[in-house]
């Protein structure tokens, strides 16, 4: 087609008539298809081929140990030291025999069929290590540490320590476990080895034996250290608990009457430890991702492996790794780098300084981000309704909690629309007010020389000034400023006839209502929205207000928080759990939020209070 004015116009008309938006990569949508449904747990090998490989690896390991033992025995026979160390050799041989018995095809197959936690402890250190890597999702999980050391003495024995960083105290670990192990002159052998070791070597008040990996798992999750020896089919659980508790400060921005009173601080390991001290799950994974090319801060990505949607975890990790910037100072700043619609005012991740709140959301299938040097965690994905939940909602009875939730939503509604409603009624819809009220409003405005919109604007701006000044002024002065600003300024403004008393009332109620929103960033977004609606209502009255609310709802409907619709489960409608606007009884919380596509949809069985189905105590059968 020749390039002239006509053709240009034609192309423009064609573009206008058949407009299609520019195509970019498809946005991330957390898909409903769940390929992980029915997948076997990671700790078990998938299929027969993997089983054979596992068996082969175990046999190879056994052959290696046997070869070492044979070599050692041959050398001892040659130099005549066998008789002197006969006890040690006998114990080692017994351990090898025990390992061989477990490697026969039938017991091995049965062993693979049992849950990892129920499995016994192998005499082979590498077998134990492999099993522990499966249980604690290593090496992805950076909280749990497996450390191999050699004991002291002439015949050193390989040992394996397992502990959780952040839960175990470093000084206890060094003083009561590692140092005695390395300094011991004669490490014990055989079946009695652990008992002897606990009696003679470990200077610790609480030491207990463990014979299954489940016991080890429980101890490690409690902050203790598990100690394995090569050739010994049991472990020692040594008390090394030492996570931060009550030394950390109470929350500043999320104060509650009930619930935990500890808050995050600037130390990443303390923060992950605080979460782990509440949620003692072996498959709680903490992955560390470096953020910022120059700052190189660690960002902990926490999730429960058996619950969180793998697509969500992979997407969050992809976004984190895709940040190319010098330095990220704050976790909320980090969230802006990775969220779906960073230009919109509404927050797309929940910011919290409370470890208990993080634990609750992780248990629902969400992901938490904790940035090094920052006392706030970001929880994602979230829905609009999450921002109106409080940390103590489940500490109260459902009726009380629901009343508070409805009150918060009503407060939010008032905070958004009250000034606009006042302007609409006073400018465009006087007929909608009862005559007495209309006369009272008119009477109060009689001596004010400014239009109503100016009055509201002056008071709103004054209120925002007081609020901002209250935050910035340190210490006790902030509350004084608030009182002085609110009472004296309002009173003086009315006396000076700059504003009418009704406007003071409207702005005061609006300001008070805005404080009912628990999340600061959501409250800030609502404040900005209020000003937008204020402008629209000044020109279009209630019609404009209705149109603005429709537009606002449409924007919220379009938004996504990490692939999850922002208004889910209301728009789009999906199967809701009993904790959206209001919440049900604790024993009715059977399902996790549907929109998260969690691996395990069920949180608890239909009948979670099993005792109601049982015979009362003391009422045995006659």
């Amino acid at each position: 087609m020749p390039h002239n004015a006509f053709s240009t116009a034609w192309v423009k008309v064609k573009k206008l008539l058949a407009y299609s938006p520019p195509r970019g990569p498809d946005p991330f949508v957390l898909d409903e298809e769940r390929p992980h449904d029915g997948a076997e747990p990671l700790t078990r090998a998938p299929g027969a081929a993997a089983g054979s490989l596992e068996h082969l690896a175990a046999l190879t390991e056994f052959a290696r140990r046997l070869a070492l033992f044979t070599d050692k025995t041959r050398r001892a026979l040659r130099d005549g030291s066998l008789a002197a160390e006969a006890r040690g050799y006998r114990a080692e041989l017994a351990a090898l025999e025990k390992q061989w018995a477990g490697l026969a095809p039938l017991p091995f197959a049965y062993g693979r069929g049992t849950a990892p936690a129920d499995a016994g402890i192998s005499t082979s250190l590498s077998d134990s290590r492999r099993a522990l890597e499966g249980i604690f999702r290593l090496p992805r999980n950076r909280d749990v540490v497996l450390r191999e050391i050699m004991t002291g003495g002439e015949r050193p024995v390989a040992a394996l320590l397992v502990y959780t960083e952040g839960l175990a105290a470093d000084d206890k670990l060094d003083r009561f476990v590692i140092e005695p192990l390395m300094r011991t002159a004669e490490p014990p052998y055989g079946e009695e080895a652990m008992r002897v070791f606990a009696l003679k070597v470990i200077p610790n008040g609480q030491v207990r034996p463990a014979v299954t990996l489940g016991q080890v798992q429980e101890g490690v999750n409690m902050g203790d250290t598990a100690l394995f020896f090569d050739g010994v089919g049991e472990a020692l659980i040594i008390e090394t608990k030492g996570w931060e508790h009550r030394g950390v400060e109470s929350p500043k921005t999320e104060q509650t009457v009930r619930g935990s009173l500890s808050a995050f601080n600037e130390n990443l390991r303390v923060n992950t430890g605080l979460v782990r001290s509440i949620l003692r799950s072996s498959d709680l994974v903490t992955e560390l991702v470096k953020v910022g090319s120059r700052g190189q801060l660690n960002c902990a990505l926490m999730y429960i492996d058996s619950i969180a949607n793998p697509a969500l975890v992979a997407e969050v990790k992809r976004r984190l790794e895709g940040i190319a910037t010098d330095y990220v100072a704050d976790s909320a700043e980090l969230a802006q780098f990775i969220e779906d619609s960073p230009t919109l005012l509404f927050p797309q991740s929940l910011s919290t300084e409370r470890p208990d709140r993080v634990a609750v959301h992780l248990a629902e299938g969400r992901v938490a981000l904790i940035l090094e040097g920052n006392p706030f965690a970001q929880i994602l994905p979230v829905s609009f309704f999450t921002f109106f939940h409080s940390a103590e909602d489940f500490s109260m009875k459902s009726g009380t909690a629901n009343f508070m939730r409805v009150l918060r939503l009503f407060g939010t509604l008032l905070s958004v629309v009250l000034p606009s409603l006042y302007l609409s009624l006073s400018y465009f819809h006087q007929e909608a007010m009862p005559t007495e009220l209309l006369l009272a409003v008119a009477g109060s405005r009689e001596n004010v020389p400014f239009p109503a919109w100016f009055e509201v604007l002056v008071m709103e701006v004054s209120f925002e000034l007081i609020r901002e000044a209250g935050i910035r002024i340190p210490g006790m002065l902030s509350s004084t400023i608030g009182i002085v600003g609110a009472i004296i300024l309002g009173q003086a403004a009315v006396a000076a006839r700059v504003v009418s008393p009704i406007v003071v009332v409207v702005v005061a109620i609006t300001g008070l209502a805005s404080f009912t929103i628990p999340e600061f960033r959501m409250a800030s977004a609502v404040r900005i929205m209020r000003f937008l609606l204020f402008i629209i209502a000044s020109t279009m009255g209630l019609v404009g207000l209705a149109m603005a609310i429709l537009g606002l709802t449409a924007v919220l409907c379009r938004m996504k928080s990490f692939g999850v619709p922002y208004l889910a489960p209301v728009g789009p409608r999906n199967e809701a759990n009993y904790d959206v606007v209001t919440r049900g009884q604790v024993f009715d919380q059977e399902a996790r939020p549907d929109e998260l596509g969690a691996k395990d949809r069920r949180r608890q069985p239909k009948v979670s209070r099993r005792w109601t189905m049982e015979r009362p105590a003391g009422k045995g059968e006659e």
Binding site: L17, I549, C557, A568
Partner: protein, 200 residues
């Protein structure tokens, strides 16, 4: 999971159906039609609906068979003049329906809700809202309508409840008011039953 991401669901469909049909209740067109066409006014929506349905069917048939946009399709089927004809037709339809209706809605808004507002302001706000909603897309609009539907219907119910004391209920059913017209009922009914209902 019951949500179908990226696909229109029943909820969105209901929202869109209400969004399209509910504002028409407040238009003066039906009243004007009844006034001018009298007892034949029923023919207009029926014939219009049949014609619109047939047009839609043909469009679906053609776009299913030939990929591409409407202008490319018309150029392929009707030659070089095709895009101008079809584009011009749809431009005219767009102006006739969207723009003129916007004007009518704006006029009605001034008459019923905002007598003190500027006509240009109202037009501007309607235009901006339409732009925003068009930008956000049909799925979002359907979803937003679905979310707001209970509030809208609740508001209407509230208005109706407020008007209930002054409502003339005798016009709610033909049998309560002027009675059934004589032609749809057999003679016995038109004399006996209808007369009895009229007394109720």
């Amino acid at each position: 999971m019951t949500r179908r991401s990226g696909r229109m669901g029943t909820g969105e469909g209901i929202g869109l159906a209400f969004a399209v049909s509910l504002p028409l209740v407040f238009l003066t067109t039906p009243a004007y039609l009844a006034e001018t066409a009298g007892s034949a006014s029923w023919a207009t929506p029926i014939l219009g609906g049949v014609a619109g349905g047939a047009l839609l069917y043909i469009l679906l048939l053609l776009t299913g068979r030939y990929p591409g946009d409407l202008l490319g399709l018309s150029a392929r089927l009707l030659g070089k003049a095709g895009p101008f004809l079809i584009g011009g037709f749809y431009f005219a339809v767009f102006f006739a329906t969207a723009c003129l209706w916007t004007r009518q809605f704006a006029e009605n808004t001034l008459l019923t809700a905002l007598p003190a507002a500027e006509f240009d302001n109202v037009l501007l706000w309607y235009g901006l809202s339409a732009m925003l909603l068009a930008y956000l897309g049909i799925e979002t609009v359907g979803r937003a309508n679905y979310v707001l539907l209970p509030f809208g219907l609740g508001g209407l119910a509230l208005v109706l409840a407020g008007l209930a004391p002054i409502a003339n209920r005798s016009t709610s059913r033909p049998s309560w008011g002027t009675g059934w017209p004589p032609w749809p009922l057999p003679p016995s009914c038109s004399s006996g039953r209808a007369a009895r209902w009229r007394c109720c």
